[in-house]
Amino acid sequence: MTVAGWLEIVLFAAIVGLLTRPLGGYLARVYAGERTLLQFLIGPVEATLYRIAGVKPEAEQSWYRYAVSLLLFHALGVIGLYALLRLQPVWPFNPQNLPAVSADLALNTAVSFVTNTSWQSYVSETTLSYANQMVGISVQSFLSAASGMAVAIALMRGFARQRSATVGNFWVDLTRGTLYVLLPICILGALFLVADGVPQTLAPSAEVTTLEGGRQVIARGPVATQEAIKLLSGDGGGFFNANSAHPFENPTPLTNLMEVVLIFMLGTALTNCFGRTVGSERQGWVLLCVMAILFGLGVGGLYLLEARGNPALATLNVDQTRGLQQPSGNMEGKEVRFGIAGSVLFADVSTASSDGAVNAMHDSFMPLSGGILLANMMVNEVIVGGPGSGLYGMLLFCIIAVFLAGLMIGRTPDYVGKKIGASEIKLTILAMICVPAATLGLTAIACVLEPGLAGLGNAGPHGYSEILYAYTSGAATNGSAFAGLSANSTFWNLTLAFAMFVGRFLVIIPVLAVAGSLAAQGVSPRSTGTLPTDRALFVCFLFGVIVIVGGLTYLPALALGPIVEHLQMLGGALR
């Protein structure tokens, strides 16, 4: 570990921390329908869109109508993207004349991007045309992120409103999130990336002659615009197969820093937006503190493990020690331009959020590092998470935490002035149980079926980790890949699509139901028996609940993979 490495991590945390309050205030104004700096520019576009779509922005929806609107909108999204992929040769901007995407892969890809997962069972640059990258993939990146934020905002309104039958208007929240939040930040982000060397062109792949006289095809395209929304949306689907490890997606340490900031900025700002919406910014800071502790433990653990190197490689006389001959240390699976700190920071941010972009190969990390990355995803995206999904995941844990505290002291639990009753608890459990059920159930099935084992690149606990990682990533709507698993088969495409669908929509529905239930309540007056949820005590309690619930759910599964592999490594049994 180096001082420069730690400084890079601290600088990242400082930038994200400084952005949290102003961006949180901006989000609160946008979703409250208030005027913003961009009103004069975007207001007419917004009004025109409502007119075309026949949306009455002042008409609010019950949670059920909000949920059905969201489901129908995304059903059309899946069908539309599926059609775009299947009819790829028909569309323009296909200079490489790429053929149609196969049916099962098209379904997997459509579900993947509509659910904000961006799991990619394909090699992007040799599978998708520019039209599909721009019109298919990028559009869904915008809409899935805006939809996630809309759900979080609806839940915030549930906490903030009194005796209300409505939680907002899905179409308005979707439109305002896209136009006022995602689009402006992405334009700035794309310009920054272009300035630092990321290509933005519709020209076909370049063919060059190498120094040895060979012929090389260098893929390129409209990368910068897709890169910006890929990061900001928590989507993570790369223009290239190597994702942010590719020099055209992430050319310099500066772009690397900017990319991790883009991934986290909306998730952290939403905690502040929550605090403002419920009338106490401290409530938002509490959530951010818990996220920061979980994130700090993850990135610290990863840096420690990766900097120490692999004893199995040391026995083969591989030099992993920093020195004049080898200035970076243990570079297994990492890019030279980012080093260990830049790689572990990106890996932790990517799995703690729901982004899933990668700038290093997670499969090549130490076994326990793989375990940390898995654990990040297994806690239901609450360590910042995706735009919206991180916050509503964390609020579900808050509900569980106050419920447990209520059981301990024998009082009806309440959170930010709302009583948490039997209905809210049942719905919260429904939302929280479907992700582990899909992850562990599908992992078990894939471990015993021939089609599931066919794609494995490794045997033993590492192979099992590859399967567990794939389903964890899918159901947590993360989308990062452990690598080593060839997932472009009918079995993997369909089962992963199922995991992504469950992990997104079967969580969102009960979350919106909780929002509706809370909005219908009045405010519960604060009393001496009320658990204060804006203090350090609640930070510790919430942290404990997340770790214990996550641990109880997934520790046995982790023990069979990364932990066994770590013990094998220590025992010299890894070859």
């Binding site: 059905v68 059903a75 099962d104 459509a110 209905s423 369909l494 529905i509």
Partner: protein
Amino acid sequence: MHDVTMLALVGVSFALAIVYAKLCAHLLALPAREDVSP
């Protein structure tokens, strides 16, 4: 044929999700037990 199967899967999945939302609404409509906290 593949396309019909895949689109049918999409349709059935989202239809079931709407049914799931209906069930959640039903769950909310159930009468709550009396609050017995002191």
